[in-house]
């Protein structure tokens, strides 16, 4: 038994992303405007401002992309049924990881602006904190993570490539063999995710204050990245259900479960922050407290720190307690956007106070334009990927088994 007739027609109807033709030029325009702003900033009087914005966006969008793919990997590892209709949407931002190593290499040109330990080496840390070694290990790690992510995505999409819905063999025939390979790759990806993102956090964010250290900082970054990945996936799901027929697959259950995951990772991200903060507060060691005191006690960072706490933790916690909110796409779209803006500001708060010596918050038009440039690149990756591959992973054995079982009930109900 394969897909019932009614399901087949429904799948064919929703197999393409509801993108408008005018969007691609818009995203290209945003990417070019961001690139132009960045280049003019680097050539201008204050290149540090452009470089630090570039770094913030690199760690933000790389984390978001990696977090999205992790959702897909977790679905495979846990053999979950409920999230199968969301799998392709979660994989879409992962294509950004293809260009992340290239974007990382651009940082090499601005290394002396970004990494204070190049001009002022830290005694005893030269072996780790030196530019050639850092770019070599981080570049290689990002390549490895990108390769693992793309392998996982490829294994997922190749099932649909050249397959017509009507000609699929029964799900039970392919489930064990194909899904087993996907699970192995998903496990490899999940391990690499934790290792590579920890390294990125230590090297690209923590080393900006080279005397400060927190052993939990890597985990804090990769947990936060999954939180961002979930928020990004929520935005894509809200956009996807606007397409007629897609609501048949992405239903209240998917929104509610995704909302629960977001609540869980809002709590976990907040917990990882507090766990570091409490130990630093108790230990009261000057080399540890400086990083926190600068951000929590001094203007202009203090107000930003409270804003980040409210937007990334308190607001999502309160909003996501309600089941009703979780199943309202428009409410989740707003909340997901707010969380992503909050997490961008959190990256800003981690990076900029370590580098910026001027007065006031260096947050203006150039920062917005460079960030929009990165947004344009990410949106291009998503739009091209979803335009090329079916929106619904209809050949995924677990989605098919679900559809076959629920075919009498008019959709996927589990």
């Amino acid at each position: 038994m394969s897909y019932p007739e009614r399901e087949r027609n429904a799948i064919i109807a929703v197999s393409r992303w509801p993108g408008r033709p005018g969007l691609l030029p818009l995203f290209v325009g945003l990417a070019l405007a961001g690139a132009a702003t960045f280049v003019s900033g680097v050539m201008g009087d204050n290149p540090l401002r452009a470089w630090q914005t570039y770094l913030i966006n690199l760690v933000f969008w790389t984390g978001l992309a990696a977090g999205g793919v992790l959702f897909s990997a977790i679905q495979s590892i846990t053999h979950a049924f409920w999230g199968r209709p969301l799998k392709r949407l979660a994989e879409a931002p992962g294509t950004f990881l293809l260009i992340a190593p290239l974007l990382f290499l651009v940082l090499y040109a601005g290394r002396s602006h970004i990494f204070p330990w190049i001009n002022h080496p830290v005694a005893g840390k030269e072996g780790w904190l030196n530019a050639p070694f850092l770019f070599l290990r981080d570049g290689f790690s990002l390549l490895l993570l990108g390769a693992a992510a793309l392998s996982l995505i490829w294994l997922s999409v190749r099932r649909e490539c050249g397959q017509a819905v009507a000609q699929l063999p029964p799900a039970a025939d392919t489930e064990g063999r194909e899904e087993g390979v996907v699970v192995v790759f998903a496990q490899i990806y999940a391990i690499l995710y934790a290792l590579v993102l920890s390294l990125i956090a230590f090297d690209l964010v923590m080393s900006l204050s080279p005397r400060w250290y927190s052993t939990l900082f890597g985990a804090y970054y990769f947990i936060g990245s999954f939180y961002m990945g979930l928020a990004g996936l929520m935005l894509l799901a809200c956009l996807a259900v606007r397409k007629e027929g897609m609501g048949r697959y992405i239903k209240a259950l998917q929104f509610q479960n995704l909302g629960k995951l977001m609540l869980g990772f809002a709590l976990l991200t907040g917990d990882f922050f507090f766990t570091q903060f409490l130990v630093i507060w108790y230990g009261n060691l000057p080399e540890e407290t400086g990083f926190v005191i600068l951000r929590s006690q001094f203007a202009p960072w203090r107000s930003l720190a409270w804003t980040v706490l409210a937007v990334c933790f308190i607001l999502p916690f309160v909003a996501l307690l309600s089941r009703r909110n979780k199943v309202r796409p428009w409410a989740m779209f707003i909340l997901g956007s707010v969380i992503l803006v909050g997490m961008w500001l959190e990256k800003f708060l981690l990076v900029v106070p370590s580098l910026w010596q001027g007065q006031g918050l260096p947050l203006g038009l150039s920062e917005v334009l460079i960030s929009l440039g990165f947004f344009g690149v990410m949106a291009l990756c998503i739009t091209i990927f979803l335009g090329k591959f079916p929106l619904l992973p209809f050949a995924d054995p677990l989605l098919r088994i679900e559809a076959e079982e629920q075919s009498t009930d008019g959709g996927l109900a589990r």
Binding site: F274, L278, W281, Y282, N284, R323
Partner: protein, 169 residues
């Protein structure tokens, strides 16, 4: 004399039961209880017209726990003067942990107490409508209707696959 009669229908198949529940809900009849040998999300979803108020009791417990945990920590510090070098006499940062622990403890306790109160547990006898077959392989629905509707609802239940329909007191 009661103005309503209570009908109990026994079902063998879940699909029949779900169809019957939908029909009863369409007629806006009061469904008093559904018994099932195993937990089932679809039955729960159909019966969840309004959320249980136990969540507010739990929330109240959680908030009371935060207040209690924080107050107890402050009171203890004031009474015993735990002065630690470099820290204020009443440090607020570590009190987050006590507040959190009390929040969870009180929320759980209030939840259990609320559940017991709202479901009027413990009960030391089975209700008259309870059929022991629902712990084996049958589903049951207890619904009330007016005496005039009795025949119509009985027929409706049977048409939807009820194995038997009985009037219970």
């Amino acid at each position: 004399m009661h103005s309503h009669v209570r009908l109990q229908a026994i079902f063998v198949y879940l699909d029949d039961l779900l169809r019957a529940l939908r029909s009863l809900k369409d007629r806006q009849l009061t469904i008093h209880a559904v018994h099932s040998p195993v937990p089932n999300h679809e039955i729960a979803a159909l019966m969840a017209d309004r959320a249980s108020p136990v969540r507010y009791i739990t929330l109240a417990g959680g908030i009371l726990g935060i207040v209690t945990g924080f107050s107890l920590s402050v009171y203890t510090a004031m009474q015993w003067r735990f002065l630690v070098s470099g820290k204020p006499p009443v440090p607020r940062v570590p009190y987050v942990i006590e507040s959190f622990e009390f929040c969870i403890l009180f929320a759980v306790l209030f939840n259990v107490i609320g559940l017991l109160l709202l479901t009027r547990l413990p009960r030391f006898g089975l209700p008259a409508s309870y059929d022991p077959r629902v712990t084996e392989d049958r589903y049951s629905v207890l619904v009330s209707c007016t005496p005039a509707q009795r025949e119509e609802i009985s027929r409706l239940l049977r048409e939807n696959g009820a194995e038997e329909v009985n009037v219970v007191s």
